[in-house]
């Protein structure tokens, strides 16, 4: 499409259809004519500005003209038809005219009182925006079905080692087979394991993220590729044909979006594989983050091994099953438990009582961790909306009060009560409609902005849905708030209108209602402020928490050592050492080392049983631990703390006595309070392409390294010397003396100088990983803080209005007091006292509400109690302070009043 002509088209689209029909072409011709006069960017900008200003004025006029024309036509038609009978309602006017009259009166009276209208519309629009955006996120994440075929039947499967208290572990090959063989349980079960690989292109080798999958994995999900085909049955295993599916992103960036790439052969980890298809652009893996499978992988290839031949205790397969049509969800758990029992019976030496399989609907499981965040935020938004509506109600009550004379006169002149009520409702409807419209517009924009900042758990969802249900929600919310705040001023609409002019009783009642609303606002404000303060403390605690290592001044870089280049363990060990040596020689590097799997990395690591000696087979899994291989110097480089024993040295190589270092969590589990140094463990290690359990001597204990972030404690880690368990993934860490940014450019060059075929990826400061780990909390804190801030402002505006109004009502009273000898300070204190009283009652209510509400968010907190007294105290002081500040101006005004002026009033 021609770019320049797009913007005017968008503006024109705002006009009513009749206008476009009659003048659209001429309108466009004019715009083209203007463009022909000058086509510099500045001219164009000026023209667009003119079009926008023009539309702001002309679009409403065009719609109004249209409505008038229609009304006139309708009236004429009715008159022609002789149906002039509708004289009872609205004093002889046809109903549409009455509505029009009401609307016109409403708009006129709102226009006259602009400060009210703007405040009301602004606060309500903010409330509607916030609620709509939050709902859109909740709808997208929790309600909208997953983008797979019949997603409600998909289940995420977990291996629950309840003895070891690890309920969400992956599966082994034989376990997968058992699940597949269970009669009439699953239609299919697919498996995936995320790793990385190296693709040998024309020049530099490239590190790619790689999904190893069962051949039916995409069939289970019901994925349709945008080009080519998905895997066929029989393409996995050692005899498989070597095929690969590529992601849309990889196809675009590395294959030049060339359709003929399908059928091409590439070298993946030294193996020839044929590209058989390209996945759709919006395809992501919607699996729980703790499955360790990234949402987007570059390539997918079938497992090159026979899954059924894998060791029954080598757990690394993430399983997604499609329930058989006849199996209801309620029964499924019992059925997989039965399968687990069967497996246990078959491998008695490995699997113990209490260990079982579990399953959960994929959609719910995928957002398990963000669900409480979203629900807490949705609650916060709901409170905020309530606050905004309360504020508008309070403003509206004040306004109705000020207009009681007008209403009474109209009533005396014969306007029926319902007619006045309807007028008030129409006014609030106009406010609600405008606010709803503005809120809807803002939410489209705000939704996108917020989505860009979404927490990690939602990264796998590519786009936020702002359509149908969200629009409906916005309309419903607006309608509900309208009913809420629109009815408030009607409550005391006088039964005897004439009395209203004279009596003050109604007035006092209304003011009392208004005060009740303000007290409610302060209470809600306190809940939101306390919630935000708790989140902020959580974030602070997480950021200050001891991770067991120091990420500052540390650069990390990932290097793969592919089988094809380094076939033997010794080759890989030597290469790892050579690279470390080269890094150590870089100027500014004070320490360096490498680990097979960096702490906090979202990549899947593997874990295995690492029992101490003398443990019966049946209890092995109690000693499950993460497996990591490290080079000498690694612990120094990340500044981990050795609490006992020694570090690895160059002498701990493939020919030496197997040794391990364990963390404190593992030491406690395996040896209790006894000294672990010199004791024996039987962890698995990676040698010659296999994972045998090997007797190793514990030579050191490190302080726990929080590899899953500060909020989750270590599950136990076993570190092997890289030379004794030479895995083919390595992430180097380089500690710099100062600024590490200059090192970034040298890392790639250094690795290239050691071996020109080695690919380096993910070069980043380690602080980035820490930041990503606390991103969910930052996100929640940011939003909670925003709501709290807005809540404070809105509550302050409400308080200010009420106190101002009541002090004005009592000017005469004040005048008399001053005349009788009260000082200005007395008056000032009196008014301030009133604000303070409302504040105190609100705070007390808020504390009570907060104690209930914050308990709901306890799962989001870390290092702070949901009923933290100091936080409540500070929140209370903040709200009380806001009340006092809001009362300050009216109090000073009242204190300054001249008694004579005050007495002369009324």
């Amino acid at each position: 499409m021609d770019r320049p002509s797009r913007f005017p088209g968008l503006v024109l689209a705002l006009y009513p259809r009749a206008f476009k029909h009659e003048f659209g072409d001429q309108w466009l011709a004019d715009v083209d004519g203007r463009l022909a006069r000058g086509d510099r960017p500045v001219d164009r900008l000026r023209l667009y500005w003119l079009l926008v200003l023009d539309a702001l004025r002309a679009v409403p006029v065009a719609y109004a003209t249209l409505a008038f024309t229609r009304l006139r036509l309708g009236r004429t038609r009715r008159r022609v038809a002789g149906a002039g009978g509708d004289t009872r309602r609205g004093g002889g006017r046809p109903p549409f005219d009455v509505l029009r009259l009401d609307l016109r009166l409403a708009v006129r009276s709102l226009w006259k009182d602009r400060s009210y209208s703007v405040t009301a519309i602004a606060s309500l629009a903010l409330g509607v925006t916030a609620a709509t955006v939050m709902y859109a996120v909740v709808n997208t994440a929790l309600i909208r079905p997953l983008p797979y075929r019949d997603p409600a039947r998909l289940a995420m499967l977990w291996n629950a080692f309840s003895v070891a208290d690890r309920p969400r572990l992956p599966f082994s090959g034989p376990e997968l087979m058992a699940l597949r063989e269970a009669p009439d349980l699953f239609a299919e079960v697919g498996a995936i394991w995320a790793t990385s690989g190296s693709v040998r292109g024309d020049e530099m080798p490239e590190t790619v993220s790689l999904g190893l999958v069962s051949d039916n994995f995409f069939t289970v999900l019901g994925v349709v590729p945008s080009l080519g085909r998905i895997f066929d049955r029989g393409e996995e295993g050692p005899s498989g044909s070597g095929v690969v599916l590529v992601s849309d992103a990889y196809w675009r960036t590395s294959l030049g979006a060339d359709p003929s790439a399908v059928g091409r052969t590439i070298r993946l980890d030294g193996r020839e594989v044929v590209i058989i298809g390209v996945l759709a652009p919006d395809f992501t893996l919607r699996v729980p983050p703790d499955a360790g499978v990234p949402a987007r992988l570059d390539l997918y290839t079938p497992f090159p091994w026979s899954l059924s031949a894998l060791a029954p205790d080598s757990h690394f397969l993430r399983l997604i099953g499609r329930l058989a049509p006849a199996v209801p969800w309620g029964e499924a758990q019992a059925r997989v438990t039965a399968v687990a029992n069967g497996v246990r019976a078959r491998y008695t030496e490995l699997i113990k009582t209490g260990d079982t399989f579990s399953l959960a609907p994929l959609q719910g499981d995928a957002v398990r961790r963000v669900r409480p965040i979203l629900l807490a935020l949705l609650t916060g938004v709901g409170l905020f909306l309530l606050l905004a509506a309360g504020n508008v109600a309070s403003l509206l009550i004040a306004r109705t009060n000020a207009r009681r004379r007008e209403m009474a006169i109209r009533s005396c002149l014969g306007a029926p009560r319902w007619r006045i009520a309807r007028q008030l409702l129409t006014e609030s409807l106009v406010v609600a409609a405008v606010a709803g419209g503005v809120g809807l517009g803002l939410s489209q924009w705000g939704g996108r902005a917020l989505w860009a900042l979404r927490p990690e758990g939602l990264r796998s969802i590519s786009s936020l849905s702002l359509g149908g249900p969200v629009l409906l929600f916005a309309v419903a919310v607006t309608g509900l708030t309208w009913v809420g705040f629109g009815l408030a001023p009607l409550i005391h609409l006088s039964r005897d209108p004439a009395a209203a002019i004279l009596a003050r009783g109604v007035d006092r009642q209304r003011q009392r209602l208004r005060k009740a609303v303000i007290v409610g606002e302060v209470a809600i404000g306190l809940v939101l402020v306390v919630g935000a303060a708790l989140m902020a403390q959580t974030l602070d605690k997480l950021q200050q928490a001891d991770l067991g290592f120091d990420p500052t001044h540390v650069l990390s870089a990932r290097v793969s050592l592919p089988q094809a280049l380094f076939p033997t363990d010794a080759d890989r060990a030597r290469m790892a050492q050579d690279i470390a040596g080269a890094f150590r020689r870089l100027p500014g590097v004070t320490a360096t080392g490498a680990v097979s799997h960096l702490p906090l990395a979202t990549w899947a690591n593997w874990s295995d049983a690492a029992p101490p000696e003398g443990i019966p087979e049946a209890q092995r899994d109690r000693y499950h631990a993460d497996h990591r291989s490290v080079t000498p110097g690694y612990f120094d480089a990340i500044a981990a703390r050795l609490v006992a024993g020694r570090q690895f040295t160059e002498h701990d190589d493939g020919t030496a006595q197997p040794v391990v270092i364990i963390d404190e969590a593992m030491a406690q589990r395996a040896f209790g309070d006894a000294d672990p140094i010199g004791r024996r463990l039987f962890p698995a290690r990676y040698v010659d392409g296999d994972f045998p359990s090997t007797e190793a001597i514990v030579v050191g204990v490190v302080h726990d390294i929080q590899d899953r972030g500060a909020a989750l404690s270590s599950e136990g880690q076993v570190f092997w010397p890289f030379a004794q368990s030479a895995r083919w993934e390595l992430t180097y860490v380089l500690r710099g003396a100062g600024d590490i940014v200059p090192l970034i450019s040298q890392v790639r060059r250094t690795v290239g100088s050691v071996h020109r075929d080695l690919a380096v990826s993910q070069i980043r400061p380690m602080t980035d990983l820490v930041k990503a780990n606390t991103a969910d909390t930052s996100f929640t804190t940011m939003l909670a803080g925003l709501f709290a801030l807005l809540a404070l402002v809105i509550a302050a505006v409400g308080l200010y209005g009420v106190v101002t109004y009541s002090s004005q009502q009592r000017l005469r009273d004040m005048g008399i007091r001053v005349a009788l000898g009260a000082t200005r300070a007395d008056i000032f204190r009196r008014i301030m006292g009133e604000g303070a009283k409302l504040g105190v009652v609100g705070v007390l209510l808020g504390v009570a509400g907060g104690i209930v509400a914050t308990r709901l968010m306890s799962s989001l907190l870390f290092g702070v109690s949901p009923t933290d007294a100091a936080t409540f105290l500070i929140g209370g002081i903040a709200l009380l302070g806001t009340s006092l500040v809001a009362s300050l101006a009216p109090a000073r005004r009242a204190a300054r009043v001249d008694p004579m002026t005050a007495l002369r009033l009324e």
């Binding site: 006009y15 206008f19 009659e22 003048f23 072409d25 001429q26 309108w27 466009l28 011709a29 004019d30 715009v31 083209d32 004519g33 203007r34 003119l50 079009l51 200003l53 023009d54 539309a55 004025r57 002309a58 679009v59 006029v61 065009a62 003209t65 024309t69 016109r104």
Partner: protein, 115 residues
């Protein structure tokens, strides 16, 4: 509320008056009207196309302007508008009203001093 489009006795809305004045000497199409208004108001008033056609719609409905024959040599999307006798009467009555106003202003020595 004053409604003005049909009657010649009520004051004209300002954009309507501006357009009628622009059409007084010859039929014009949309942009040309806007440019004529800009010219004789010394660029103080820029009529955007939306406002322009909204007003033309009212003037058409009120019978103050009418469609004029298009010219073959232009952009085929353009439509020409001409002032009707009613429109001329409206301009004249508005001009008379403004003249009276200006006279009154002059009597009170409120005209802007020049130089």
């Amino acid at each position: 509320m004053v409604r003005n489009s049909g009657s010649t006795t009520n004051p004209l809305a300002s954009s309507a008056f501006l357009i009628l004045v622009a059409l007084a000497d010859q039929p014009r199409y949309g942009l040309s009207i806007a440019e004529e208004v800009a010219r004789y108001t010394k660029d103080r008033i820029q009529l955007g196309p939306g406002t322009l056609y909204n007003t033309i719609k009212k003037l058409l409905d009120g019978g103050l302007v009418e469609a004029a024959p298009t010219r073959d040599d232009d952009d085929p999307r353009r439509r020409y508008y001409a002032i009707t006798p009613t429109g001329q009467a409206a301009v004249r009555s508005e001009a008379a009203r403004l003249t009276e106003l200006v006279d009154a202003i002059r009597d009170k020595h409120l005209t802007p001093s020049r130089g």
